[in-house]
Each structure stands twice: as C-alpha cells, then as structure tokens.
Amino acid sequence: DTAVSQTPKYLVTQMGNDKSIKCEQNLGHDTMYWYKQDSKKFLKIMFSYNNKELIINETVPNRFSPKSPDKAHLNLHINSLELGDSAVYFCASSTGGANGYTFGSGTRLTVV
C-alpha cells in the first residue's frame, strides 16, 4: 500500500480552468502539507494542516484553496489556472516533532 498517494499523477489543462488534486495518507499522521516544485526544482511550502486545521498558509494566491475533510486527506483546488501554475505539486505528511516527512509521488500540472 502506498503511504501517501496523490491523484492524478499528470494533469494537462487550459488556462482559466478549475482543477483539483487529491492526496491521501494511510500512515495515521496528524499533519499534511502541500509543496510546489517549480521548473528550477525549488521546493516551497504552500499549506500545512494539522488534524483538519489550517496551520500554515504561505503567500499563495487565493485561487489555491486547500480542503481537509479528515486528517487522512488534504486536497488542493485551484481556480482560474494560469500558465505560471505549471509545476509539480507534492503532498506530504508527518507526525510532527523531529520526524521527517513522507512525500507523495507528485502531480505534474501543465497549464497550456
């Protein structure tokens, strides 16, 4: 069983569309994250949720809205997609403390 799973793996869509990326973890972790990896391979945190509560919301356009229906799921909805949103989006989870994160395999979003 995959510990942190993201769907879809690839997403190609047109500018202006609305899309969602789903993430699920079966590790029993309390905290989940969304990271964006751009074309230069820079990784930047977008959001963090702990037990369904938003903890971190970095400077991200409000077109991006995370939703956590329960602590095992953290979905990312993006409205009015723009060319600059093209990136790989990684979901991750952790137990917090001195433990590291477990990452999903990423969703490669291409906006055309």
Binding site: T31, Y33, Y35, K40, K41, F42, L43, K44, I45, S48, N50, I55, I56, F90, A92, G96, A98, N99, G100, Y101, T102, F103, G104, S105, G106
Partner: protein, 111 residues
C-alpha cells in the same frame, strides 16, 4: 525564520570519488535537520535525520553548530547516487513547524 543555503547548484564527480554536498542553516538554537533525495522524476525520500546519526546508502552528515553546517558526505560516489539532494531544516512557526528546503544540489556521478 529558518534559512538554508546550498551553495552548489550542480556537483559533478567521477565514480569512486568522495563527495560532499554543502548545507548551511541560520537557526542558532538546536535545529532539526534532514537531507532528502529525489531521483529522476520520483518522489522525495528521506535520506538522513541528524538526530539519528545513521549512515544511509553510505552517506553521513554531521551537524556542526559552530559553523551552522550540515554537510552531506560519501567517501566513494556511485552512479546510482546521481540525484537532487535537498537539505531541510525545520522552521518553527505555527504549532508544528515545517521543513524549509534548500534550493537543492544536483549530484551527477560520471562513470
């Protein structure tokens, strides 16, 4: 807020040569530091945690509080080590803190 610097964007070595990937952080207290590796088009994987002082795939990393460094080392590089390596200190903000990733160093091991 925690900052992290990986000065080398690309590091190219020959197979069997020693390799050191540099990482400097800014937090002056007792940081929690990690190294992550990302093989081509794959997910990030945890490589090392400084608190465990373990050696994974021949890699080690020593925390030097005086120099605020956490360099990753391997005495004999292998071709399969070619990947992106990210140093990640934990940033303490909010109730849990989060990992801040360096810009990454691409390691290329040539035959």
């Amino acid at each position: 807020a925690q900052r992290v610097t990986q000065p080398e964007k690309l590091l190219s070595v020959f197979k069997g040569a020693p390799v050191e990937l540099k990482c400097n952080y800014s937090y002056s207290g007792s940081p929690e530091l990690f190294w992550y590796v990302q093989y081509s088009r794959q997910r990030l994987q945890l490589l090392l945690r400084h608190i465990s002082r373990e050696s994974i795939k021949g890699f080690t990393a020593d925390l030097n509080k005086g120099e605020t460094s956490f360099h990753l080392k391997k005495p004999f590089a292998q071709e399969e080590d070619s990947a992106m390596y990210y140093c990640a200190p934990k940033n303490y903000g909010g109730s849990q803190g989060n990992l801040i990733f360096g810009k990454g160093t691409k390691l290329s091991v040539k035959p």
